[in-house]
Symmetry: C2
Subunit: 481 residues, 2 copies
């Protein structure tokens, strides 16, 4: 591990964070919320630390896979630490642990909050809070489609974005080109949603913040009662649509922009993803209808599809308290929490493609028992999946369950009840936001004991970085030659 | 699939069941409980149906792997159906669904009961109830060490009993020889426990019934409050010891009898199994001690190690209501429910060896990311594990979680709450007995809605037969050439 090189890159990331800390300033001045100096001070701290690291850590060596892991894991961590400065310096959040929780929840696009009174925050801080999610989403798209496939993490090789045009004939498609194209899509979708929300009566500020949180599948809102505060079926509809879009592989969105709509719908993962949302919505509507939760069909559809999309895409916005729904809908939502969005989207969870391959693997295993001499490969969209990739995906699944179990155990040890502890861990590990029990859709994470919060911060990071990226750091052999 | 041959073998199994139905008669006469005719009638029904099948279904063909699956799955099913006759004919259980639930729970060595007043049952029926577990345990030992490895189910190839002596040089070690040796161990341990329990003051009848249930890791008791009814630390200790022994691979017990104690403790699975019991007990004792559940050290040890052993080995006996313990101990017990005993024991669950290999696989996956060119194989006890076996085990894990999820969903749909539904399914799928919530250690399954009971019956069967054995039957290609 080349620590010097890693520190240099982390330094440059801090310089970028410093620059990002200037963006809330216009809102601070416009609303006169009086916290502008906080952002400038935070930016200065980032510039000084980042500048020193960048200046004095110099290494002539090339970046290798190992530094890749370290940069990604530590990069997200320092963003969570330094990005928490505005909360702390303004006094909006007094405990450093709470501030880091909130920022990690932002940059990992989780959306779990320790704030009990969101609307009391100065506007510029609310903007920063939403921006952390949007920046986190930008990071994730490139991470999942360009960086992790190169590092070979958790079967992500399957989802490498294939960059068209001038880079196609180069041996190593450059991360920068891929990033630019995907970010173009991300930016465009954010702008379209902002306009559509403003059309529905939202202020520019609210529309922008909510679009940031939607496209990142983050779920931070500027309102205490999330999207429910607007009580508008139009807004619910727009947000539902964009949540579902944000849960789709961004490389597919890029195909659509290039006019290749057929390519888009040919994706097996996409079809399964939409199928799950549809089937879950129908089942939940039946139970909610029979259970008398929602009487008119339209109302039932509106609230059911919103919560399904919000949970499945791991956004975590809310318009209804699903803990008041019948047992089966609740159980289905818990299930969706583990599945999550598509690979290459900003959504978290285990990802639809992995679940799909797991299911196919199990099917092939049963088939082999009946036909011991037949050869049947696991395929994804007609292409056979490499054995090593499949093993990696199976390992990911086992690890995900393992981390969930150990995390829940630790959070339960901190004094939470069984359902709330499990709910909190899956909410953070899958980067959703709200969980169950005392951290349910109308609650927050303020009351979680300190030790529990620390565990949840690690869960958010591990879940967001596809587990392996963080776990390698705990192997002693990672650190020496 | 050769249906004729399958039916013939099922017929011979029914003849065996008919013979077994005579064994409760001495108890019926001794206690004068007046239900002797019930057993004779049940036996006659088995003889008639079994005899007809055996006589008229005749096939000159050889048994193949497919008939193997069918015989095992349908064999357990007809035992559950015909074994329920004494409950129904005596009127002790009036609903056929309930009676089949109780019998399936017996033959799968689960121990979940729909009886609310166990002590009200005639003695001979209580004996039959315990005997179903003991016979089920006999079946499981041979199934897991001789039959499933041959069929290649869920990685059980790893645990094939290696038969020493005269059969070693034959190409196909015969199931019968293996069975005889393993049953010898099983019988011996049952007798020793019976004697030790009688020494502690239990009647011969109670001692025999509880030994049957212990060695089978079944958990049916003759008392409403299970082993807790005796309130004796000696009896708790004896039962704890034999539960732990029953959760060990019976091929290892055989090694000890042959004087190869070193072989015994060299088993990596055994060491991990004992390690988990030890560590779980210590952690639970700390939390129970600090939580003030048990004050004196001895009392804490006695109750903590008993429930840990009972759950981990999937026996399900109880001496305390662990739902009154702090959250973490409860959570740990839930975890143990999924793990279960050793492969080749009478215990259920996913089996320690599978969990161990899963963990090693994940470790190797992380290692490979750091050292992409290094070759590191997953090993069990110094022997590398074949890739196909590993894939099969990974598939088993995914399926187990999948069946648990779908099962819980269905039971929740029948109207049970989230925790109770999940608890009931894992209790049945891992063949434990008691679950959580409304089916907790001091409750029973009487109140579960009919649909839920049907789902749980299938869970018991699937769990006991290592999932794959039952699942193959649902593949259309299983039925044609």
């Amino acid at each position: 591990m080349n620590l010097i090189l890693t520190l240099r890159i982390l330094g440059s990331l801090l310089l970028f964070l410093g620059a990002a800390l200037f963006t809330p300033l216009p809102f601070s001045f416009y609303y006169g919320d009086g916290v502008w100096s906080t952002f400038i001070l935070s930016a200065v701290i980032c510039f000084v630390v980042g500048g020193l690291l960048f200046r004095f850590c110099n290494s002539p060596k090339e970046l290798t896979v190992r530094e890749g892991f370290a940069v990604v894991s530590f990069g997200w961590t320092i963003f969570a630490v330094f990005g928490a400065l505005p909360y702390l310096l303004s006094g909006a959040i007094s405990s450093p642990l709470d501030a880091i929780f909130e920022t990690m929840s932002g940059f990992t696009t989780t959306g779990s909050t320790i704030l009990t009174e969101i609307e009391a925050l100065p506007q510029s801080l609310l903007f920063w809070r939403s921006l952390t999610q949007w920046l986190g989403g930008m990071g994730i798209i490139v991470l999942s489609l360009a960086i992790l496939p190169m590092l070979g993490v958790g079967g992500m090789q399957l989802f490498k974005a294939e960059v068209p045009g001038p880079t196609a004939d180069r041996l190593k498609p450059r991360i920068q080109d891929t990033a630019k194209m995907l970010w173009g899509v991300y930016f465009l979708l954010t702008m379209v949603e902002t306009l559509l929300l403003m059309f529905g009566g939202m202020s520019f500020f609210d529309a922008l913040c909510h679009s940031f949180a939607t496209l990142a599948t983050g779920g931070f809102s500027t309102q205490n009662s999330s999207i429910g505060a607007y009580d508008s079926s139009y807004i619910d509809g727009v947000v539902t649509l964009f949540m579902v879009l944000a849960g789709v592989n961004f490389a597919l969105h890029f195909q659509i922009l290039r006019g290749k709509a057929r390519e888009f719908f040919r994706s097996e993962e996409l079809r399964v993803y939409l199928g799950i949302i549809l089937v879950a919505t129908v089942i939940i509507m039946i139970f909610n209808g029979v259970g008398g939760v929602y009487r008119p069909f339209g109302e039932n559809l509106r609230y059911s599809i919103f919560q399904v999309s919000s949970i499945m895409t791991t956004t975590g916005f809310g318009t209804a308290d699903f803990e008041l729904w019948p047992v089966l809908p609740q159980y289905l939502l818990v299930l969706l929490m583990f599945i999550g969005g598509c690979a290459g989207s900003t959504g978290g969870g285990m990802k639809v493609a992995r679940i799909l391959l797991l299911f196919k693997h199990a099917q092939v295993q049963v088939f082999r028992l009946i036909h011991p001499r037949a050869i049947r490969l696991v395929k994804l969209g007609n292409r056979p999946v490499d054995k090593d990739v499949l093993q990696s995906i199976l390992g990911f699944f086992a690890l995900f369950i393992g981390v969930f179990v150990v995390g829940s155990l630790l959070v339960a040890a901190s004094g939470m009840d069984l359902v709330s502890a499990g709910g909190a861990v899956v909410a953070c590990l899958s980067n959703i936001g709200p969980g169950l029990g005392s951290v349910g859709p109308v609650d927050n994470f303020a009351h979680v004991p300190g030790f529990g919060k620390a565990v949840l911060i690690i869960c958010m990071l591990m879940g967001r970085l596809e587990l392996f990226t963080v776990l390698v750091l705990f192997f002693p052999s990672f650190w020496h030659k």
